[in-house]
Amino acid sequence: MNKTIANAEEAIKGIQDNMTLMLGGFGLCGIPENCIAALVKKGVKGLTCIANNAGVDDFGIGLMLHKHQVKKMISSYVGENAELPAGVGTEVAIGKEVRKFMVDGVEKEFLMEYAFDADFALVKAWKGDTQGNLIFRGTARNFNPMMAMAGKTTIAEVEELVPAGELDPDHIHVPGIYVHHIFQGVNYEKRIEQRTVRKRN
């Protein structure tokens, strides 16, 4: 089953105005750079984006915010992006169901949350094969596997695409059943958000 497509432009062909997208990544780590660039170029508008963060002003999802392509952002932390207006974010617990469960013999309250639903999930992996199997590297895995599992259509961009059979099945993080289209990305910038180092002595 070959899920390979040529590039990001072809991958996002089905993404239309007003759709809901899920994007993998934590900060700028493990974000689908190629797909974001293609969406900016295509100029689709009215998008609802579900992602842990909203990028920074001039990179990641920030590029789409800057072009006013995003109608609604569903995130856990958007502090790095100054372009988002006040009030965007989550109001917790209001209007949500609370249920009690026993934890270590003590009754504890838990908030029930609905699962998110998205037309497309855009994820980024380190390596992938033509069947859509994915392997991540370091902390760039983060939300990518969850987003890949939740998209009605999931697009994976990878730094290295190999023929099926080359990846050790024991090393696969996301099995290809969750991935509909896969392509090898180009020109990864992989920008570092906070460069922290120590001196050699």
Binding site: V78, A86, G138, H173, R200
Partner: protein, 218 residues
């Protein structure tokens, strides 16, 4: 009075051998620098890492290797990477022994507010709400008073809460305090700080029993 490094050094003394520890952003991150020699602990970073090491040497930064504050980091031998669901799975199931985080306000019943100031831009709570909802032990590193000189140790938090009744201990530039059913219990004074100064800087219920020793910080 302690500076940020002093607060971090004092909190480091609360860490025990064999602990899995989650460090928040800011002063808590500094705690990693003062873990006592020979102690074996594992630092958890909620973006998907157990076994976080120090910042990389210049030129060895890896964009695929960051902490929850989006800073470049390294890993130590025996580390493991995982996805966000597993990360919050280990947090929610209380596998993490100690969580150290900053706060804007703490109440004398252990409520914590650290994610939102009404009227200001809402950045989001990140992983904090999950961390405080389920951590076995939470120590807060914070300033005792805000920039206007008002106490941040209150009878009731004024800012929207991150968690209810979850903080166990607070270390500030002035003092170390436990949270008890009767309120804040003063355990130690910072070097050169009087009990009177701590009283004046604390708005919530404060219990002072006997002589309060001065902190010992190396």
């Amino acid at each position: 009075m302690l500076d940020k490094v002093g607060i971090a050094k004092r909190i480091a003394k609360e860490i025990k051998n064999g602990y899995y520890v989650n460090l928040g952003i800011g002063i808590p991150t500094l705690v990693a620098n003062y873990i006592p020699e020979g102690m074996s602990i594992v630092l958890q970073s909620e973006n998907g890492l157990l076994g976080m090491g120090p910042f990389p040497f210049e030129g060895e930064e890896n964009p695929d290797l960051i902490n929850a504050g989006k800073q470049t980091i390294t890993i130590v031998p025996g580390s493991a990477f995982f996805d966000s669901a597993m990360s919050f799975g280990m947090i929610r199931s209380r596998k993490v022994d100690l969580t150290i985080l900053g706060a804007m306000e703490v109440s004398d019943t252990g409520d914590i507010a650290n994610w939102k100031i009404p009227g200001k831009m809402v950045k989001g709570m990140g992983g904090a709400m999950d961390l405080v909802a389920s951590a076995k032990n939470i120590i807060v590193a914070m300033q005792h008073v805000n920039k206007a000189g008002e106490s941040k140790l209150l009878s009731k938090c004024e800012l929207p809460l991150t968690g209810v009744g979850c903080v166990k201990k607070i270390v500030t530039e002035l003092a170390v305090l436990d949270i008890t059913p009767q309120g804040f219990r003063l355990l130690e004074r910072a070097p050169g700080v009087s009990v009177e100064e701590i009283k004046n800087a604390t708005q919530g219920r404060l219990i002072i029993e006997g002589d309060i020793p001065e902190m010992v910080i190396d």
